[in-house]
Symmetry: C2
């Protein structure tokens, strides 16, 4: 408790500049070298000392979460389109693909996200976005199941895990595009209810 700077208005101009420069540099490095990129290099490229980076983002997860914020906004936008679809089965399929793309933003991203999904660690800044994705997935699965397109034994979390898995395989580079397509088809066959009755 007490008035720490958390809600202080009008942050100093250099603070905002540093934060923005750090985020931009981090995104570039994560894109180029994966989520394990050197934080020292990020700080250097942002033109600040390593101490400044740690002052803004106490650990790698915090920096990663902040960088992912941008991607999350893209995902939300895509989600708005998906939510407008009439066919619940089609909506679920597109959502799973959107999830996979989100997880594929940076190489090595699935690992820290799964670590955040593992346990309710309130200190882990990736937990909140992760939980949101699981909840949204669950909603699409319920809707599609109500419409009779998803097997009763399949839960939302299962398909969340499946999407992360495909993203992980994609990130390893061990599967070409056709192989990935067949993997997605395998998952699709696994969760979809057969249409014939």
């Amino acid at each position: 408790m007490g008035a720490d700077g958390q809600q202080g208005r009008k942050p100093r101009a250099d603070v905002r500049r540093n934060r923005a420069a750090l985020l931009e540099a981090a995104q570039r490095h994560f894109l180029a070298h994966g989520v394990g990129a050197s934080l020292e290099a990020v700080a250097k490229e942002a033109g600040v000392g390593p101490g400044t980076l740690y002052r803004h983002f106490p650990n790698r997860e915090a920096l990663l979460a902040a960088v992912l914020q941008t991607r999350s906004e893209e995902l939300v936008a895509r989600q708005a389109d998906i939510a407008r679809l009439e066919d619940a089965a089609e909506a679920l399929e597109q959502w799973l693909r959107a999830l996979e793309d989100y997880f594929s933003a940076f190489s090595g991203l699935p690992e820290p996200l799964m670590a955040a999904a593992r346990a309710q660690q309130p200190d882990n800044p990736l937990t909140l976005p992760c939980d949101t994705l699981v909840t949204t997935t669950d909603a699409y699965v319920r809707a599609a199941r109500l419409a009779g397109h998803v097997r009763p034994s399949v839960e939302g979390y299962d398909l969340f895990l499946a999407a992360v898995s495909v993203a992980w395989v994609r990130g390893t580079g061990a599967a070409d595009e056709e192989s990935l397509a067949r993997l997605r088809a395998l998952v699709g066959t696994g969760y979809r209810e057969r249409d014939d009755r």
Copy 2:
């Protein structure tokens, strides 16, 4: 070419001792801390200098491949049992589970194995065991498909990838046993031919 020590008979006693101590220490550390365990610590526990470790195993993959040799022998033994099964569908299912267990031997093992599967890098010591596993998987898939138990669109490599994926999820700790069972069931539904005609 030339007579390098590769095929030299009767290695010195201390060389054999060192190698054995390194393998044992490495296995312990890989079990405790995953495949990213500190090689310095491995050398220390084996009672040798870091230089000796590098002399025996030029890189982490080489050490990992040597440690996996033991596990591979377990897998081959298990494979002998599986090969004796009459039901090709049952054999495939058991083989996929054996694969998953193999990949789950150490935390973080799926990554380097997928890196080895990615490209034909003759220098990567994990390529050979990896290729063997893919080939064996393919054989089981072909047999099961001939017996009409696997969808025509499913290839052996797809199920190899699926098994690694499940092992990866298992390794992250983000899925409890029930969740993993449902994931395996999802894959099973995905590749198995429907029995009704």
